[in-house]
């Protein structure tokens, strides 16, 4: 009994889609989620991974099938069919990727907005109740923020931290508490806003478990906002080639329970902190 080709195509499509969705949801390629941004990111990853798997399996299947089914048998010197094109078919495979790409683009825009990526960087200085940033009215005089991820605007308290990157270390300064440290300590569940500037060359601040990265650029302050959601220690990695010891330019972000963070603040408040690698306070 002959099965109609349309039915076979439909079945293959369904199987491929299911396989893609299964792979997308069950194959975990990412490190643990430790910031409020990470689950959002991982949702996007699952969508991209599923669509990618469907496409990749489909096209690979087509190639392998074609190479086996339409291979030239020995002794056959004839030609294949003289098909030069098929406009409806070509329109279909122009339209489908266009729709998929448009969907992915809009979806990732939504994700980006939820991450706070679309928050205006220039009104930002006026919004944040910060100790060091005075002259809110004369915003033209304010330090310009050149790039980064701003606040998502949940209105909660924000912990500002000044980050200075230099060959080959990150220095963290807590403006309120006058603490300077080589490690970043943050409380669980509170928004943290990093004001970052580099001393010498371009560096990049990356915490894989937060799914966040921002270049730290000499002469152009940048900002990075995140809310840690999981206590623990995570690596801070410099991701921009910055010289011979680039691979060694690493630090740690420690996410404390709020009480433990207060204790850390208290115990480090004196100016005689040994945690910083002996650098003058910026």
């Amino acid at each position: 009994m002959a099965v109609p080709p349309a039915l076979i195509t439909l079945l293959i499509g369904v199987v491929l889609t299911l396989a893609g969705l299964w792979v997308g949801h069950n194959v975990n390629l990412l490190p643990v989620e430790a910031s409020s941004n990470a689950p959002v990111y991982d949702d996007l990853f699952v969508v991209l991974f599923s669509i990618g798997t469907i496409l990749f399996l489909g096209i690979t299947g087509l190639i392998v099938y074609s190479l086996v089914r339409f291979r030239r048998r020995t002794g056959d010197t004839g030609d294949g069919l003289a098909i030069e094109g098929n406009l409806p078919l070509e329109i279909v495979w122009t339209a489908i990727p266009a729709v998929v790409v448009l969907f992915v683009g809009i979806y990732s825009y939504d994700i980006y907005e939820r991450m706070g990526g679309m928050a205006s960087l220039h009104d930002h200085g006026a919004m944040a109740p910060m100790v060091e940033q005075v002259s809110v009215q004369s915003s033209g005089q304010d330090e310009r923020i050149w790039g980064g991820i701003g606040r998502s605007g949940d209105g909660g308290a924000v912990l500002p931290v000044d980050v200075t990157a230099m060959q080959f270390a990150f220095i963290f300064h807590y403006p309120g508490a006058e603490i300077t440290s080589g490690e970043l300590h943050v409380p669980l569940g509170q928004s943290v806003e990093l004001h970052m500037e580099a001393r010498d060359v371009i560096h990049a601040f990356w915490v894989p478990q937060f799914r966040l990265k921002q270049d730290v650029i000499p002469g152009q302050p940048t900002v990075l906002t995140f809310t840690p959601t999981r206590a623990g220690s995570y690596p801070i990695v410099c991701a921009e080639l910055c010289g011979p010891y680039h691979g060694g330019m690493r630090s740690t972000v420690v996410v404390h329970e709020p009480e433990a963070f207060e204790a850390w603040l208290q115990s480090n408040r004196p100016a005689t902190v040994a945690a910083a690698p002996g650098h003058p306070t910026g």
């Binding site: 990111y41 030239r72 030069e84 894989p208």
Partner: protein
């Protein structure tokens, strides 16, 4: 049409035989082979440097070469592979060899400029490599040479790097102008644009990109060299300069550069598949429009390399959309190739295997590329091994696989001899397995926290790095069957005959190897370069009479 003939211009001075490959020859075929061999030698150097990188990364500590040396090695590896291997070979080698045939000309539009363009490459390449020995230190700032790092690393090496890239960029521009003039102005009378083989369109598009984008890189590098030598402050923040402007200018060239490496490969695959599948190229017209769409879009996507840099939110958004949409014309091309294979009679030879592996690799790289175009996705994996994996799937899995496919396809044209198929398939299997073993794990490494361009890393990543290094070793070994095959065949290979593939494109309608001015007598007029295939119910006579007509120009 009269074209400068080297024999008439300088009687007795142009060497004959193998010596002409070392001479200032004006013959486009000689220049094409010069590009190919020269590029391959640099590929071996770049590959050895890749070997150094993968050896260093076989352990999480920086223990194989010094840290400065490691950065020199990764800079030289990138620069050599891009500017001395892929760009010169996909454009210079195959472009020069094939384009005059395809347009029905006896040479390129400007043969002397063509020779100058080639002869800029060996000195520039030697200059670049010698900087490692002469200046005491080669450039250490990566092939991107971002300031202020490139302003603070040893100046002599950086200046030599800039000089050699300027020379190579000049060579590329000369070549681009030549291809545009040849395709548009040197076509045989009666040959229309929409009858050209697809590789002509690919080279036309590529050359437009070369001519528009390369001068921007040249200007940028001149400014960078002023910052280094004359202490100007274009990109020096301590003198009021702006480091992000450099990134914009650099990527305005260097993203189109990816298309400069990949579009000619698209063109070459479009030539190879129809011949070996015995079918017409599917969707000629949409293929042409996709190439042009890629050219236009390719010029407005550069800032996706700067999503984590100092770019405002709206700019991140615009470049996400523009970059994603480049997948549409690219997708059309891939579906058209699949449709070309469908229902064909496919010869499973090395050329086809490499071409199909190219589709496999490039689709994978394209999917990760669309993912990388999404700002939120990129913010996590930017500047990590994920990007290294993606990039190599595009330029190695894409362009280099096509270079190998093209070598198997056109070697009989270059030499008149057929490469050994068993060695060819061994080369294919080793390359394919080695390549995927080397670069697939790098995606996981990047997602989980390994940045690129590091000599040391978190010991948790050791296993997959070692797998990757084993893959690199396989890739190195895979070069051996290719080398043996090419060298032995050149002397002892079976004679191929003029047209071993029964192809219809014009380069096959002359002797192999072809005479100096390509055809004895008139150039053939090929209006249907992909006229393969049996029309159901039609007569075979059509094809046979056509071929007899075309080959009349041969003798």
């Amino acid at each position: 049409m009269t074209v400068a003939n080297p024999l008439e211009l300088e009687p007795g001075l142009q060497p004959q035989g193998w010596l002409r490959y070392l001479s200032f020859s004006l013959d486009h075929k000689v220049i094409g082979i010069q590009y190919l061999v020269c590029g391959f030698l640099f590929y071996l150097v770049g590959g050895a440097l890749a070997g150094v990188i993968r050896t260093e990364l076989a352990s999480p500590m920086s223990d194989f070469v010094g840290r400065d040396t490691y950065n020199e090695v990764l800079t030289l590896h990138g620069t050599i592979m891009i500017f001395l291997w892929i760009v010169p070979v996909v454009n210079g080698a195959f472009g020069n060899y094939l384009i005059p045939f395809y347009v029905g000309a006896r040479d390129m539009a400007f043969p002397r400029l063509n020779a100058v363009a080639f002869w800029l490459i060996p000195p520039a390449g030697l200059l670049l490599i010698s900087s490692y020995f002469l200046a005491g230190a080669a450039s250490q700032s990566g092939w991107t040479a971002y300031p202020p790092l490139s302003l603070t690393t040893p100046a002599a090496g950086q200046i030599v790097w800039i000089l050699s890239v300027l020379l190579l960029g000049g060579s590329s521009i000369f070549g681009g102008i030549n291809f545009i003039a040849t395709v548009l102005k040197l076509r045989r009378p009666g040959l229309k644009l929409m009858q050209l083989p697809m590789f002509c369109w690919a080279m036309l598009g590529t050359s437009i990109l070369v001519v528009l984008a390369t001068p921007v890189l040249a200007g940028t590098l001149v400014m960078l060299s002023f910052d280094i030598i004359a202490h100007t402050g274009f990109f020096n923040p301590s003198l009021g300069g702006n480091v992000v402007v450099y990134q914009h200018l650099f990527w305005f060239y260097s993203h189109p550069a990816v298309y400069i490496m990949v579009l000619p490969a698209f063109g070459l695959v479009s030539e190879i598949l129809p011949v070996h599948a015995r079918k017409p190229l599917f969707g000629y017209t949409t293929m042409v429009y996709s190439i042009m769409a890629i050219v236009v879009l390719g010029l407005v996507v550069w800032a996706h390399h700067m999503f984590t840099s100092g770019t405002p939110p709206w700019m991140r958004l615009f470049f996400t959309i523009a970059t994603s949409f480049i997948a549409v014309p690219t997708g059309i091309k891939f579906f058209n190739w699949l449709a070309t294979l469908w229902g064909g009679k496919i010869a499973l030879n090395s050329a086809v295997l490499f071409s199909c592996a190219f589709i496999f690799n490039f689709v994978f790289g394209g999917i990760t590329g669309v993912a990388l175009a999404q700002v939120p996705f990129d913010i996590h994996v930017h500047d990590t091994y994920f990007v290294v994996g993606h990039f190599h799937y595009i330029v190695y899995g894409g362009s280099v696989f096509v270079i190998f496919a093209s070598l198997y396809h056109w070697y009989p044209k270059f030499t008149g001899r057929l490469l050994n198929e068993d060695l060819g398939r061994l080369h294919f299997v080793l390359t394919f397995i080695g390549f995927n073993l080397c670069f697939a794990p790098q995606h996981w490494l990047g997602l989980n926290g390994m940045p690129r361009r590091v000599a040391e890393y978190d010991p948790a990543f050791t296993t997959w790095n070692q797998v990757s290094s084993v893959g690199a070793l396989l890739m190195a070994i895979s070069t051996l069957p290719l080398l043996i095959n090419v060298v032995v065949t050149a002397f002892r290979g079976p004679v191929a005959g003029d047209n071993p593939w029964n192809a219809l494109t014009p380069e096959w309608l002359t002797s192999s190897p072809p005479p100096v001015e390509n055809w004895i007598g008139e150039a053939p007029l090929v209006t249907e370069p992909y006229g393969y295939g049996e029309h159901p119910g039609g007569f075979d006579l059509d094809r046979i009479s056509g071929r007899d007509l075309w080959s009349s120009g041969k003798s």
